[in-house]
């Protein structure tokens, strides 16, 4: 564990300003308010997780961060910059990249093309080739199927592709919406291991998971969302042993 992280996990929060800060975020779909004014902080180099039941508003929060749903209120700042009104592609270019729920792989493009598009906002050609190798190493099956259409991959393979593609953007913050969904246990382990690895390499991660136990285990910081509001926050370990969390999400 890096020094920064140790401090972070020990204190629950660093004294440094958060890398990404959300305050008072509200999102509504028509009359339904899906997110009701939440505050979140992501600290550099940490894994932060957001857990909650079905329909609690997790995906909505992520989409709002990426600028894909309109915010009814609230502010998002990233590294001193205000993302609240930024266009989605600018948000990606500034380093906040999302792997969306339900694997938005481009099925009519090949696997390789999908990965290359991941690097769309980057201009460094050499780095791109290097990262492609890195992703192929991470997920060898993608290398095997590189020339095939992404639409023909199985569900799990597509999830790997989606993560790999996001990594190609060289993000500073990676937002993940249920990356373990539909994956074989061995792959889930792989994915979580990979997440820790890339985190240790310095990447800040914001993880939305239904796999609460795993998520809390690797998270430095965690939030619990219920019907659009944050009801608990703390370090991953704290929440793991919190009776309320245990009852509501860990099914024990």
């Amino acid at each position: 564990m890096s020094a920064v992280q140790e401090v972070a996990s020990a204190a629950g929060a660093t004294t440094r300003a958060p890398l990404l800060q959300v305050s008072g975020l509200k999102v509504a779909y028509g009359k339904i308010e899906a997110v009701k004014g939440i505050d979140l902080e992501l600290h550099e180099g940490q894994i932060t997780t957001l857990v909650g039941a079905n329909g609690a508003g997790k995906s909505t929060t992520l989409l709002a961060l990426s600028g894909l749903v309109k915010k009814a209120a609230g502010r998002v700042t990233f590294d001193g910059r205000d993302l609240s009104k930024m266009a989605p592609h600018k948000i990606v270019a500034s380093g906040v990249v999302q792997v969306a729920e339900g694997r938005a792989t481009l099925s009519t493009l090949t696997v390789r093309e999908n990965l290359e598009l991941g690097a769309y906002t980057r201009r460094d050609k050499g780095g791109r080739a290097h990262d492609l190798d890195y992703v192929f190493n991470l997920f060898p099956v993608l290398k095997e199927r590189a020339g095939g259409l992404a639409g023909n991959l199985s569900g799990g393979e597509q999830q790997m592709l989606a993560i790999g593609r996001a990594l190609m953007a060289k993000p500073r913050v990676l937002l993940l919406d249920e990356p373990s969904m539909g994956l074989a246990p061995i792959i889930v382990q792989d994915i979580f291991r990979t997440l820790r690895e890339i985190n240790q390499a310095g990447l800040t991660i914001f993880l939305v998971e239904q796999n609460v136990r795993q998520a809390l285990k690797i998270a430095n910081r965690a939030y619990v969302i219920e019907t659009g509001s944050i009801v608990l926050a703390g370090t991953g370990r704290e929440l793991l042993v919190n009776p309320r969390v245990q009852e509501a999400y860990l099914g024990s």
Partner: protein
């Protein structure tokens, strides 16, 4: 009840399923697991008639399913849910479930113009049954919402209710708990046990081992298009081939400084 006999399916050069033999007895809950891309969903696609097999045959209650259309197969008593949810998004929850009753409504396509008595009573019955199914999956309070506005997990539950509406004998579930958290899984587990207790035979694909092992008496493992193991949860859990290909080793878990959330 269901018998797959040397079933194969190729996509071009890709041999997704090779000589799969599988028998599923009436009653109980049967599991199919295997790595991503092993061909599990393809098995379901073959059973429900969405894809024709390259070779081999499928029998359901002694009837050969070859050449039958999906709606025909549904009427024989097979229903399924989809891995990547396929609801009728612009319809309300209630309507989604009522579509499932299609084949059971007793008025004909044009006969409905003439008689209104039968029409009304049949429609009323279907509506009541649909409400009941929605309350099974705890979505009855949203009955008139559009399906599209449900969150991921809610959509899965709705799909389950819709499948049940077709009055199946065999229920095929493709990753029913993907996207749910542990306590929701526990809930659904109870629900599926109830369903099974009502006499439905259940055949499910699932990656959540706690869920599969908790529910199924009998599990088959598919790897690279072939069945590599079959047995009770305990036998499967300890099968070295399955661990190698699918479950992962304990050491891996340990290196995650944890005790296996999924196992």
């Amino acid at each position: 009840m269901l018998r797959l006999d040397t079933l194969s399916r190729h996509f071009g050069g890709l041999k997704v399923l090779q000589d799969v033999n599988l028998e599923i007895p009436q009653g109980g809950i049967f599991g199919l697991i295997g790595p991503n891309g092993a061909g599990k969903t393809t098995v379901f696609n073959l059973i429900t008639g969405l894809l024709p097999p390259t070779s081999g045959r499928i029998e359901f209650n002694g009837q050969n399913l070859a050449g039958r259309t999906p709606h025909d197969i549904t009427r024989l008593g097979i229903a399924r849910t989809f891995q990547n949810i396929r609801l009728f998004k612009d319809m309300s929850l209630l309507e989604n479930v009522m579509v499932g009753f299609h084949a059971q409504l007793k008025y004909g396509s044009l006969g409905l113009l003439a008689s209104s008595g039968l029409f009304r009573s049949e429609e009323r019955r279907a509506r009541a049954r649909a409400q009941e199914l929605l309350s099974w999956v705890k979505l009855d309070h949203k009955a008139s919402d559009k399906a599209d506005n449900l969150s991921y997990g809610e959509q899965r539950k709705l799909e389950l209710a819709r499948a049940l509406a077709t009055n199946p004998k065999l229920l095929l579930l493709d990753e029913p708990v993907a996207g749910m958290n542990s306590s929701e899984k526990v809930e659904l587990m109870v629900e599926i046990r109830n369903i099974s207790a009502r006499g439905y035979t259940i055949f499910m694909i699932e990656h959540d081992m706690r869920f599969v092992m908790g529910l199924c008496q009998d599990i088959a493992v598919l790897n690279f298009g072939r069945i590599i193991a079959r047995g009770t949860p305990d036998a499967i859990r300890n099968d070295p081939q399955v661990i190698e290909a699918y479950l992962g080793r304990e050491e891996d878990e340990a290196s995650l400084d944890a005790t296996g959330a999924t196992a």
